[in-house]
Structures are given as structure tokens and as C-alpha cells.
Subunit: 458 residues, 2 copies
């Protein structure tokens, strides 16, 4: 039957598919750094051209920021929207990479072959699993089993400033029966997963200004307020000694998970020590009295993602700087309102400023948490498909990260999302030496082929 032929074709075509992915990985599409804007566009154009070879009607759509890629192809089954992002994280510190982040390579490791490059797992390798499945189905059967719209974003790693306006402007084309999103991971190396709840994200950048100019600590030390001292005092109080965030009202809209879900998560084979051991840690650092999976999936967090001020070069400079800066992000859950918490965080900081210090703010994205309605039959179809490709039975899990687009699909297009991805905990996304297992790339393609044909058969 044709599914077997499709899967056989994907097996036979793996080298060519890997070569296509390498072409995309060679484009340094770093969206947070304006210096790479033309590379981001090149990646969008590469995807448009690859979609066309499959038979999609594809375009690159300009936005005030980086472009979007949209492609459509008809089919008899339900209308599905597939989402992925083609932009990648910055690569610093470059010194910690074992090779050029944008010179992809297939490497043998004790755990099997991996594709090594920035973006291999997040998210270029993942989105290509879907395109390869479409390519094989089209080649084998002459058409796609469902009507498919693909939508690739180029600003996912930089707060998606153009996403909401774009969804509102192109709602008619993008509205489908269900969204498929491939930007998540396996639960364990052998157990695939479908993410049914995700944390939201609020990003803030703050600059505290004290003196008019940098001062010499010998001349002014003891008299003038040092903004680094103010910044560390305020951010040093962001958590209490139980790991709870101290911004007033932060937990107001945080619901506890249901007993059912708690039981299901407790039965999941999650080894917190192994998870942390991978990165040289031994103790969960979150809220006291919470089980590790709660810390990751259903509890909100506050993190300082960057801090800088004063003299940071070689040697020493006894300066009292005029300014100190920090980038702070919050992972949000349940009904937490990003904009309400942005206001609460800013008010909390401003209330602690001493005389002679001011703060200025830059907003970096705000998206609520999302929870899927898994009643749609596609969820069980997908769970069975994944279970056939990996050793373990697939699980419905939560996600610690943010995939704002899932929330926006729900709010703006009234569409649920099925989040199936094949990354691993040791993929080092957002870190030096990011990789994507070749087995994830291969099994992912086969899983999508099963899911698309399965959904078409209903």
C-alpha cells in the first residue's frame, strides 16, 4: 500500500534530504542581529524555492521585520497549517564551538550520527522533516492527501514582532482545521511526545541610569550611587530563598495542574538527576516543594538572561558607570497575563529605585501560556504514528518553552495546534555545538508521512 512505498522512498532519499537540509543550515539566519538581515531573507527565499519544487504555490511575504514564507497545495483531506521557523539563535560565544556553526557536518557520536550546526534542531532540521514527508508523498502518489498550508517565520528567536499583524492580515489563507507545529522535542531518547501545554514568555530589557557620566570610584566612591549596585540589589531580590518570584501578583493567575495530569506526569519516567547531570548540575533550582516536571511545565519562572555594566574588559577599571543593563524573561503558565505582569514587574522595579536613579525599558515579546484541546482525532492519530517510529509509546506532555505562535493561532485564528517535534535534551539548542540526531531527522519524516495519511483517512 502507498504508505509503505512513501516510507521506503523516505528511507532511500535520506542522503539527498540531508544534503538539502545542509544547504539551509549554511545560511546564517540570525534574526536578533540586524547584521544578518540579508541572510535571513536568503533563508526565506531558499524555502520558497524548495516548496516550489515540491509543487507548493509559495511566496516570500515582506513584513516590517524579517519576511514570512507561505506555501499552499491542495488535497482532498482536511486543511492543515504547518508552522516552523527558519531563523536561528546567535552563536556567541563562538570560541566554544568545535567548528563553524554554519558549516554543517554529519558526525558519528557514541549515541549515533548527528547533524552538527546552529539551527540543526531549532528549527531548520525539524521543519524539513515535514517538507521531506510532503515531497515523498507527492512523488509517490502525485498529490498530497490533505490541503496543506505551510507557514515559516523568520522572527521566532527575536520575539516575533511581525507575527500577530501577519496572522491578522492573512487569516483567510492561514485558518485551517488544525495547526501542526514542529518545534518541540522527544520526551526521552526513546519516547516521543506531543506537547499539549506550553509556557508563555515575557521579555524585558532594563537600563538603570545613575550619574550623568562614568565616574572615578576614588573621587566619587561613597558619595555617588552606582547603578550596578542598584541593579544587583533589585534583581538579587527577584526570588526569595524558596525560589518564588517576588513580583506582586505574579502567582495570582497560576492554576495548579489537575490530579489526572499530576498522576500521568508522575508515571512518566523522568530522571531529574540525569536531566541535570547532562549539564553539570545536581539539584533542581526551582520552587521548593515542586516536582521537577512541574518546575519545567506548569510553574512560572523569572530568569536574568543577560546583565552588563561598567568595565568588562581586560584588567581593572575603578569606574562608577553611568548605566547598568539587564535582560529579564518570565516563563508564564495557565492564565497569567503577560501585559499585566509586564506592568507589575516594571512597577516593582521602579518602586525600589533610589533617589538619583532612573530606569528605561525595552519590551521583548509577550505571549500567554497555551493548552490544547486534545479531543481532535488528529492527536490520537499522531500519538499512534509516533509510537510506531520510536521504541517507546508516545506521551502527551507539557513544555517548558514558549511557542507563542500556538497561542496566537488559538486567539487569532481559533485553531488548535498539534505540537510534535523530535529534538533531544542534549541537542544544545541556543548553545554552542547545537546538533540534531540523524535518527530524529529520519523518523520525523516517516512520522509526518503517517500522520498526514492517517488524518486524510480520518
Amino acid at each position: 500500500m502507498s504508505l509503505d512505498a512513501i516510507l521506503a522512498r523516505l528511507d532511500a532519499d535520506l542522503d539527498a534530504a540531508t544534503a538539502r537540509l545542509f544547504e539551509l543550515l549554511r545560511i546564517p539566519s540570525i534574526s536578533t542581529d540586524p547584521a544578518f538581515a540579508t541572510d535571513v531573507r536568503r533563508a526565506a527565499e531558499w524555502l520558497r524555492d524548495d516548496l516550489a519544487t515540491i509543487g507548493f504555490d509559495a511566496q516570500v511575504h515582506d513584513t516590517p521585520g524579517h519576511p514570512m514564507v507561505m506555501g499552499q497545495i491542495d488535497g482532498p483531506g482536511p486543511h492543515l497549517l504547518f508552522y516552523g521557523h527558519y531563523d536561528v539563535q546567535p552563536v556567541d560565544p563562538l570560541s566554544l564551538w568545535d567548528r563553524d556553526p554554519f558549516d554543517p557536518a554529519l558526525q558519528d557520536t557514541p549515541k549515533g550520527k548527528v547533524i552538527r550546526a546552529r539551527g540543526a534542531a531549532d528549527d531548520k532540521g525539524q521543519l524539513m522533516t515535514f517538507l521531506e514527508a510532503c515531497r515523498a508523498i507527492k512523488a509517490e502518489t502525485g498529490r498530497l492527501p490533505c490541503k496543506i498550508t505551510v507557514f515559516f517565520e523568520g522572527e521566532e528567536e527575536s520575539g516575533s514582532p511581525s507575527l500577530v499583524p501577519y496572522l491578522k492580515a492573512h487569516g483567510d489563507a492561514l485558518k485551517a482545521d488544525l495547526a501542526l507545529i514542529c518545534d518541540t522535542g522527544l520526551f526521552t531518547d526513546d519516547v516521543p511526545a506531543i506537547v499539549t501545554q506550553l509556557r508563555g514568555m515575557l521579555g524585558e530589557e532594563m537600563t538603570i541610569t545613575g550619574p550623568r557620566i562614568d565616574l572615578h570610584s576614588g573621587m566619587y566612591g561613597g558619595m555617588a550611587m552606582n547603578p550596578i549596585r542598584v541593579l544587583t540589589r533589585i534583581l538579587g531580590g527577584l526570588h526569595d530563598d524558596q525560589g518564588r518570584v517576588q513580583v506582586p501578583g505574579f502567582y495570582d493567575d497560576v492554576a495548579e495542574i489537575s490530579d489526572d495530569l499530576r498522576t500521568q506526569w508522575q508515571t512518566l519516567d523522568f530522571d531529574a538527576n540525569a536531566f541535570l547531570g547532562e549539564v553539570g548540575q545536581s539539584q533542581p533550582a526551582g520552587e521548593a516543594g515542586r516536582m521537577p516536571l512541574e518546575m519545567l511545565w506548569s510553574r512560572p519562572t523569572a530568569e536574568i538572561n543577560g546583565i552588563w555594566g561598567g568595565y568588562t574588559g581586560a584588567g581593572f577599571k575603578t569606574v562608577l558607570p553611568a548605566q547598568a543593563h539587564a535582560k529579564v524573561s518570565f516563563r508564564l503558565v495557565a492564565a497569567q497575563d503577560p501585559l499585566k505582569l509586564r506592568a507589575a514587574f516594571r512597577a516593582w522595579v521602579e518602586a525600589q529605585l533610589p533617589t538619583d536613579c532612573t530606569v528605561t525599558w525595552t519590551a521583548h515579546g509577550a505571549s500567554p501560556a497555551s493548552r490544547m484541546d486534545i479531543g481532535h482525532p488528529a492527536f490520537e492519530i499522531a500519538r499512534k504514528a509516533l509510537s510506531l517510529e520510536w521504541p517507546g509509546e508516545a506521551a502527551f506532555i507539557g513544555g517548558g518553552g514558549s511557542i507563542p505562535v500556538a497561542g496566537h493561532f488559538k486567539e487569532i485564528l481559533g485553531m488548535d495546534s498539534l505540537l510534535a517535534g523530535f529534538g533531544k535534551d542534549d541537542d544544545a539548542i541556543h548553545s554552542p555545538n547545537e546538533k540534531y540526531d540523524l535518527s530524529s531527522f529520519h523518523r520525523g519524516q516517516r512520522a509526518w508521512a503517517r500522520i498526514l495519511t492517517g488524518i486524510a483517512e480520518g
Copy 2:
């Protein structure tokens, strides 16, 4: 009489003296940054050559770090050692400079002509006031009135790593009846000063390491410890809400100033509001209940001079970094022991580290506070000389900065130091747009001519 002729020559020669200073200011002798090592050496060689033109027997002496310059010339009077430093602070942030920091210019300002360049006030302009005085005396009288050894350091802005070994190795040549140090400022624009007590300095650099690699806060946020969070929590507790440093034992060896000195300081016309107003501040930020001059001169401080970690570039990166860093310095007074406090600070930090975090240290200089014996007749001679060149009567004051060499002269060479300098509070040393008033440069030369001839006459 010959002093008048010497002063007249200094007046007539001011343009040429300014041109000589500009040559020295054009050399970017930044000692903290290894990239400028050859420039530092060029500055040393320029001084050696200029000393030779005056008649000094001058050499550049290599050290494990940047070179020292020593010059000697005979004279009938007491042996005086003159110290200055020819290295300068880094210039970042360069964007805040109105012109190239190493392209000196004479500029008209509402408060008179100024010499604008990095190092103009700290310390190239100041040390040249002494050389110009020597040049004029030699030209006018054929000799110097005292035996003079000049000693110029190239590591003053980078913790003086070679100073103590050098003083020990060259003690015989450097030991004099009195040291003259020109690296301080006027008390007010119209009131010159001789600094009779100085704060010491302890510099520390710390790196806190948490995870083995940078992590994605979506995947690990809430589970892995963020070293920036640890750094801010610890340094945020460096001061209590009264501005007192919380390192155990920090105040053990801090003596209160004498009632005499307190009375003298109270009579000094110091306008804390104007002093702070210059730099956009309105309230003293030091220990509660201390008078401003105590905060600056006789109370110890702790300051965070630099902090960095995580993503600090354009846009946003939701990273949990593997490391976070800070540069911290302490201004020391009275009998505070720098090495004892270094150990106390490190122990205080290490005691607060959570599981899974470690700290590594880099030492950046350690010098005790110093207090001069003003019994030596040169102190009164100098006070009178300064009073003749500026509108106000010269004062004996304290200094908030550190001039470690003064302490080392006392410990290693058993020699007191007379600290007379002509900088102003608005010179912006260690900041963008550093300047030195032409009047300071001119009056300083005349003052040294009076002091040298005065000391010779006894």
C-alpha cells in the same frame, strides 16, 4: 632674583610646554589592555628622551609588565623623588567622546581654556608640570636646586603589578629625603590642596560558574541554577539599607578621624550638592549618618565596577548562561588590611554559593590606606607656594582615591610623600572627554618652581 626669572620663563614658554604635552597625549598608553603594550613603551621612551633634553640621566627599565622610567640629576639641596604615571585609563565607551581621545586639543570653555584628551589630567598633564618646572630652572640657573630623581610608572591604572618588586630592586636609587607625587586634585577650583591621607584599594574579579554549558531557559528554566541570579543575589547584599558593607570584619580596623581633623574638614567649604550636581546626582549615597567628606576621605567603600554575563547583544536571547562575572573594588582606610579583607570577601561570597555553583577569583591589586607625617618642613613650604599661585589658601586634605605608591614608598623606602596635584572635579578622569585646565597646567609648573627653590633654601 632668580625665582622671578624662572616664573617668567615658564609664562613665556607655556605654548611650547603645551605642545610637548600634546606629543605625550597622542600616545595611547592604555596599560590595562595588552593590545596597547607597544604604545605604553613608546610613552616611556618619549619621557626618557624628554628627561635627557633637560639634563637628566634617564633610562627605561623593563619589568615583567610595562616599563618604568627613571631619571636622575644632581643638585645641592635635599634629595627629592618625584613620581607620576604615564599610563592612562581605557577610553570606552568611545561613542561618548566628542573627539578622538588621543588627538589632544586646546578648547575654550565657559570656565577657561582646557586641554582635552585621555590622560590630560590623569596623569600626563600633571607629571609634565614638574618636568617643565625643572626645565625652566635648569635653563635659567644652569642646574637644579636639589638632587632630583624622577620615577614614572606605566602600570598605575592596572594595579601596579611590577611596582613593589621594582622599588625593592632599585631602593638605593629611589630612596630620597621626601617623595613628591603629582596625581591628585585641587580642593576647589580656587583652593589648592596637599593630600595628607589617602584610601587604599582592593580589587577583585569573580566568575561564578553554574551549568556546564549555556542552556535554553525554556528547556531548563526553573530547574537549572542561573549564575547571574546567584551573582546578583550575592552582590545585591554587599551593602545593607544604611549603606554599610556586609563583609564580616570589614569595619574592624577602621578608626574614626580625630576631632581636630573633623573640625578642620567641617570648616572646609565643601558643597556636597554642587559636587554631586556636577554629575547629575542630588543625594550622598554613602553610609547613613556620615558627613560627605568622611564618605570620600575616611570611610571605606565597596563598589561593583563591572558586571557581565549571558546575552548582552541586540535583541533577546532566552539563555541561562554557564557563567557570570563581576569586578569589585574596595576603598580602604586607616588600618584595614587589604589581604585580610580579600580573604574575608572571598569567604563571604563562597559561603553564599548554592549547590552546583562555583566561583573563581582574579586578584587586581591590594594597597593599604596611607597617612603622611606633615612635620617635614616641605609640607608648609609647599602649602605657601600653592597659596601664592591660586586665589585661595591651600589646605591639608584627605583623598578618596588610592595612590598605592605613597603607601609603598612609606613601607619599602621609609619615605613620606607630599601629594600636590592640580586636577579639578570636572576633569572627567576615567570618563569620556577627560580634560585638564590650562590654568592648572600653568600654575602647577609655577608652584613646583616655588617648591623646589623653597626646599633648597630650607
